[in-house]
Amino acid sequence: MIFCLDMVALLDIDICGPSVPKMMGLEGEQYVEENLGVMSVGFLLSSPDDAVIWRGPKKNGLIKQFLRDVDWGEIDYLIVDTPPGTSDEHLSIVQYLSATHIDGAVIVTTPQEISLQDVRKEINFCHKVKLPIIGVVENMSGFVCPKCKNESQIFPPTTGGAEKMCQNLNVSLLGKVPLDPQIGKSCDSGQSFLSEAPESPAALSYRSIIQSVKINILPLHNCLLHMSNCVNMAPGFCFLLFDPKPQD
């Protein structure tokens, strides 16, 4: 796949709700494939019921440790998955990485105004901390019934969806990913959706998004922040999944 020849690392800084280990199908290991490393607080908990009931300073301490003490090795891309909001985790990761170079943020939304209003805040956050915005991904846009193949708008874009917002705010729209029941299932079982359903409309969309992200950032640079606001759900994350079969 597109990221296949690159070394990629994924850092999950959603301290209270780490989803990455489950989606990657990882149990206590930190390498999915030879060229993909993952770090998350999920690996440090002794049971799936363990809650991380921490206030800001403690969360910031762990993020610092993740950046300083994890042996990331030589990587081409570091992708950071953040929790919803514009608070401690977001400020800290930007602050701690300010000495290196952050290529920018990918912002995830759903089509409704209720979600877009949070995303505008996220965009303002990026402006405030001078974080470049690579673009916006609209997730869950439309649902195609597997039986009758008709499309329904489950989350209606009443104010024009991400497209209109991007035009108004002058940020690029990286793509739209339709709701596909298979995405959630793949995430739950830790499979790569892109290799399970490579020809589906959602997979095509993910691939074109990855392509746009790669064109947008120079390959020399190595850090990509993945932010989402209110909608930090399973499918939103998946476009960062890559085909686990390395190409020879």
Partner: protein
Amino acid sequence: MEGMGGERNTNLLGVRHILLVLSGKGGVGKSTICTELALALRHRGHRVGILDVDLCGPSIPRMLRVQDRAVHQCDSGWVPVFVGQDRGIALMSIGFLLERPDDAVVWRGPKKNALIKQFVTDVAWGDLDFLIVDTPPGTSDEHISTVEALRHYKLLGAILVTTPQAVSVGDVRRELTFCKKTGLRVLGIVENMSSFVCPHCSGSGIRDSLLFFLLQECTNIFSKGGGEELAKHAGVPFLGCVPLDPQLSQSLEEGRDFIQEFPKSSAFPALAHITQQILDTSQQSS
């Protein structure tokens, strides 16, 4: 921790039951459940308040179409915004305090905690039957501070919202642990976005609430049943499955009263059932 709760403020003494709505994940529908529960309780004749402590992403003002309103001061503190023709729902949210609606609240924990404390002590709620508290995702500053501040009032318990996927259910397991550790009673789990009835393949003639719902083959966009299974496993009540319903999302977008306008839609019976169980629990405990 204990010293702080000692100073009981009079503003919350007229509130009979306080409910928290929690979830580990973002975007699972906490604010939706809050809003619809408030409307449903209101239609049953109860006095309802909503406190929105999601400081970085307040959604309730828009869902109730009051995003342009402002809070005022009175002798006993902030006057909440009253919603609806009968002004029957009182709402307090950071959304009313921002200069521009798109302003980001870029605050670290201590500042968020200070505002939450102020929300708890300084809002003149008056007499309420229910105060519903909408929280951000997670188990961090906002949650610890809210539970600490409300501990000495009539805190009925928490409703946990999940979607059916394992990833979301996993976060609710952590939320259950949070409730256990903070001594918060779990009123039950709600599974939101449970299934979806495709309006194109379903016969439009029998759109008759529950019957219709049972007759349809629902498409499970996200896998189904995770919430119920978890409730069984954890020994807490399961309050119900709310299906994905375009009429519900549309109502929330436009700030319309779903409970009043769409009694025949697929999400309605589920929401009514959840409301009834909350009422039953509150009656038992008062």
